[in-house]
């Protein structure tokens, strides 16, 4: 097995592991903060996955410059990188909103335990 495959499997494996760790945190941790951390870990895993699909061995930046005309084949796909940047920004925004909500929740309920915050149900 060549290194490209290995790296790819490694990247995919890591990202799936990260997603699962994040899910574990979201599903089992009772603290709101930990849940948000879990969501961020899931995001991280997905971003890694997104970057991973753009991986090319010995890749170069997708910039055409004099002298590197023959490097086209080795250029990494720029799209996943653009996507991941956007996704990170969005993830950042969501996390910020989430944390501000947690502040509000703590003020209102005096607790951070998610199973004690269920005035709205059924």
């Amino acid at each position: 097995m060549d290194t490209t495959e290995l790296i790819r499997i490694g990247v995919y494996g890591t990202s799936i592991l990260l997603i699962l760790i994040g899910l574990y945190a979201v599903l089992t941790k009772r603290s709101l903060i930990k849940i948000i951390i879990g969501l961020s870990i899931i995001d991280g895993g997905i971003h890694l996955l997104l970057i991973g699909i753009g991986y090319i061995k010995d890749g170069t930046a997708p910039i055409f410059s004099p002298g590197s005309e023959n490097a086209v084949a080795r250029m990494v796909d720029p799209v996943p990188q653009a996507l991941v940047l956007t996704a990170i920004v969005i993830g950042f925004g969501v996390t910020a909103v989430a944390l501000s909500l947690v502040i509000r929740l703590y003020r209102h309920h005096n607790t951070l335990k998610i199973d004690e915050i269920k005035n709205l149900k059924w």
Partner: protein
């Protein structure tokens, strides 16, 4: 050419960022500017829509990159139809909430209108974009502004609702991103038309996985069962007009994304079992949960979810008649449910709990609002001669065409529950004595709010008495959704008008 589709997204986004600046100069502009923007958007969308119907689909290319490389916007009979409804409902919601927190809290009002602008921009973006990643971004924009609007009131449980919404929203965003990654890694493109054209080249295993993650990713906005736990809470805790905006604008965008994905991206021909099953379960769970609700807005929220399930079932039939019925249901729901939310929030204006029992006998105090509420209830339960009847009829006729007798029976039985809970509220409203101890203090509805309600009531009656006024448009939209090849051809510019 009155303008281009991109303005539908750009103007509200710009307005959202400029509102605080205007607010520094003249406080009232915070309220007026969104109205002007939404009015213009409605006008723009409607005139573009007329143009599209008369000539051809508009495909707009952003920043000079032709599809499939760049982002493109598609303004077709279907997307134009939905965009027009959405911008119009945005305008109605603005009209209703023009005096929102007036003379009370300037900051709160400012935030409200900013997020309303973002909500409309995002929803319209979801509908008219031709790129899945772009759609993802718009879904996130809608999501963030919706969390903020849900958490609008401090000192209530609104943060709780927003937090639940946020958990579900970000999980679904992750799923959506995974789906996008799978598709990109397989096909190397993000353009919807390109994906649709090449979907047969995709490994069937990955194809199904991608589809599942898509369904899950969009399902949260489309309020399908078991991903809709947030919805009743969010509808209940958000300010009244926002409930209307959620049901009239956001849910429609979610449903659109779902069916665009199923019909165009994955080009599934024939009946879609998955949509039918999910839709039916959503419908049953939501409508039966609504039966014993004690809070008015929560009941309306469950009813809204149920209607979304019904729409999905109709889409799931996959036939022309089914799609027609689904779009008709969407239109009626987009008009009627905001009408119920808006009139309902007038009725329960002076209470934070919004219990149904608090509106006991309110018809004596607020007759016009109550009558509009009843009109909405009769329309949504499908009593003729109001609008809901025709869409329900279209639905049943589509189901009968496909010989889905079991589904017809199920939906009619579920509709009985719907009738029961709506009529319980009507009874409370009209046929109980007003009681100072239980009922809330009536609130004098504002002039602008009444105009908004009257406009909606007029539309309900118009569709009810003369359904042909809208069926032509819906018919074109249904054709547009079903004709995948035409979509691909048009976007990949095999001969049509293109705005550079």
């Amino acid at each position: 050419m009155v303008g281009s589709p991109v303005l539908l997204i750009a103007i509200p986004l710009l307005a959202a960022f400029l509102i605080p600046l205007f607010g520094m100069v003249w406080k009232e502009s915070v309220r007026i500017v969104p109205g002007l923007v939404l009015a213009y958007l409605t006008y723009l969308s409607a005139s573009l829509y007329i143009e599209v119907i008369n000539t051809d689909t508009i495909v707009e290319i952003i920043a000079g990159w032709r599809p499939p490389w760049g982002i493109n916007l598609v303004f077709s009979p279907l997307t134009g139809f939905l965009t027009t409804i959405m911008t119009f409902m945005g305008f109605i919601v603005w009209l209703y909430s023009y005096r929102f927190k007036r003379n009370v809290e300037f900051e709160a009002a400012k935030k409200y209108f900013i997020f309303l602008m973002l909500l409309v921009a995002g929803s319209v973006g979801i509908v008219i974009t031709g790129d899945i990643f772009n759609q993802f971004v718009f879904i996130e924009i809608v999501g963030i502004s919706a969390y903020a609007l849900t958490a609008f009131y401090t000192g209530r449980d609104s943060a709780e609702a927003a937090f639940k919404y946020l958990i579900m929203g970000s999980l679904s965003a992750s799923a959506l991103l995974i789906a996008i990654i799978i598709i990109y890694s397989q096909l190397g493109t993000l353009n919807m038309a390109e994906i649709a054209a090449n979907i047969d080249n995709m490994n069937p295993y990955y194809r199904i996985i991608a589809m599942i993650f898509f369904i899950i990713g969009i399902g949260v906005e489309a309020e399908i069962f078991p991903l809709n736990g947030w919805a009743p809470d969010a509808y209940t805790e958000a300010p009244g007009p926002v409930g209307g905006a959620f049901s009239g604008i956001v849910a429609k965008a979610g449903i659109y994304a779902m069916v665009r994905m199923m019909f165009t991206l994955f080009d599934i021909a024939g009946p879609m079992k998955i949509l039918i099953v999910i839709g039916l379960i959503t419908l049953i769970v939501a409508e039966t949960s609504a039966l014993r609700q004690e809070k008015l807005k929560r009941m309306l929220a469950y009813s809204s979810i149920g209607q979304m399930g019904l729409v999905l079932v109709a889409f799931g039939m996959g036939t022309k008649a089914g799609v027609f019925a689904a779009l008709f249901l969407m239109l009626n729901h987009a008009i009627t449910k905001p009408m119920l939310f808006l009139s309902g929030s007038f009725l329960t204006f002076n209470t934070t709990e919004k219990y149904i029992k608090q509106i006991t006998g309110m018809a004596k105090k607020m007759p016009v609002v109550s009558i509009i509420f009843v009109l909405g209830a009769l329309a949504i339960t499908g009593f003729p001669p109001f609008s809901g009847f025709w869409s329900k009829m279209a639905f049943l006729s589509a189901a009968a065409d496909e010989n889905l007798l079991f589904i017809m029976a199920t939906i009619l039985i579920i509709s009985i529950f719907e009738v029961v809970y709506y009529f319980r509220v009507i009874n409370r409203l009209f046929f109980f004595e007003y009681d100072d101890k239980i009922s809330v203090e009536p609130h004098k509805p504002g002039f602008n709010g009444m105009i908004a309600l009257f406009v909606l009531a007029f539309i309900v009656l118009m569709i009810g008495f003369y359904p042909s006024s809208v069926t032509g448009f819906i018919d074109l939209a249904a054709d547009d959704l079903l004709n995948t090849h035409q979509y691909i051809d048009k976007v990949l510019q095999l001969g049509q008008t293109i705005i550079q």
